[in-house]
């Protein structure tokens, strides 16, 4: 039987913050969220991020509705939420800087999201191999045991970024000043 997607990871967390979050702390932004134009356009917010796990919140917005008669948001919004939070959970499982690419994403829809309410997306990375990170997630409103959707994602771990954190902080700050992360 598969462990529930809403179960938090059982592994003990290492001391300190995951390297991607350390980078974010020093530059002053949440990686894989604040610098993504589409995440900003949606209004995605960070709930928390830590080793192996993360949670985001998608506020309800009328322009995200998929079924005008009921006001229910479109499934694509749920998919985007779970894709984004799964990517964050995967990066928060790495001990060194590596580029990630989504390989595969599966979403199972349990029920329509209730209109006029925000949607939370929680994900945890339960396995990292030499080449792949495996993540499970849920989208829910209020009750984790009764999710709107569940997800399963795999990420390809690409080459190591051969720069230390201080070098990366400088580069990120410079890119931000140049407006690379802007709208």
């Amino acid at each position: 039987m598969n462990p529930s997607s809403s179960d938090p990871p059982q592994r003990e967390k290492p001391a300190g913050r995951p390297v991607f979050l350390q980078l974010g702390d020093q530059v002053g932004f949440m990686p894989l969220l604040e610098e993504l134009p589409h995440a900003r356009a949606l209004g995605l917010e960070l709930v928390f991020a830590d080793w192996y796990e993360a949670e985001l919140r998608q506020p309800y917005r009328k322009e995200l509705v998929g079924y005008p008669e009921t006001g229910v948001i479109h499934g694509g919004v749920v998919t985007t939420l779970l894709d984004n939070v799964s990517g964050i959970a995967a990066t928060c499982s790495l001990h060194e800087f590596r580029l990630l690419a989504t390989l595969d994403l599966r979403i199972d829809y349990m029920k329509p999201a209730e209109p006029e309410k925000a949607l939370n997306g929680y994900a945890h990375c339960y396995k990292v191999t030499e080449n792949v990170a495996f993540v499970r997630g849920i989208a829910y409103q209020g009750d984790r045991s009764n999710p709107v959707a569940t997800s399963s994602a795999s990420f390809m771990l690409n080459e190591r970024i051969d720069l230390d954190i201080d070098q990366q902080v400088e580069i990120m700050k410079s890119l931000r000043e140049q407006g690379v992360f802007g709208d």
Binding site: V65, H74, G75, G76, L81, D83, L103, D108, Y109
Partner: protein
Amino acid sequence: MTDHSEKERVQIEKLCADIPYAAFLGIQMDLKGSEITTVLPYQRKLIGNPLLPALHGGVISALLELTAMAELMWALGPSALPKPVDVNIAYLRSGRPQDTYARAFVVKQGRRVAHVSAEAWQSERAKPIATLQGHFLLKAPVEEEKS
């Protein structure tokens, strides 16, 4: 294959304007004969990683889901109101900051559930950037009213 009245053709073409999320993404429908191609014109707000830059994976999957649903509505009539049950998206190539196109086909249509396959591409149809396989629940068939 359902006979499509002019009214239905207009309904399908308007579909993207009527669904707020489709309008938010900027998706358009290109209906030629009985073939639907969805078009997602490039906009900065669709970008995920700005360093590559690459389209957000969620945008690509949303395009594929909407295309799959449009294809089902075209095949079965707009009252089918398909709802996704499960979708599997494979990301093959990063989506570049340019227009994206998608098409879907109904692999199997049952009475309540349909299995749909869709793919998205940019400059070359033979090099898709992502594919989707999914099941969609169809509204229970209602007695057709004589118009």
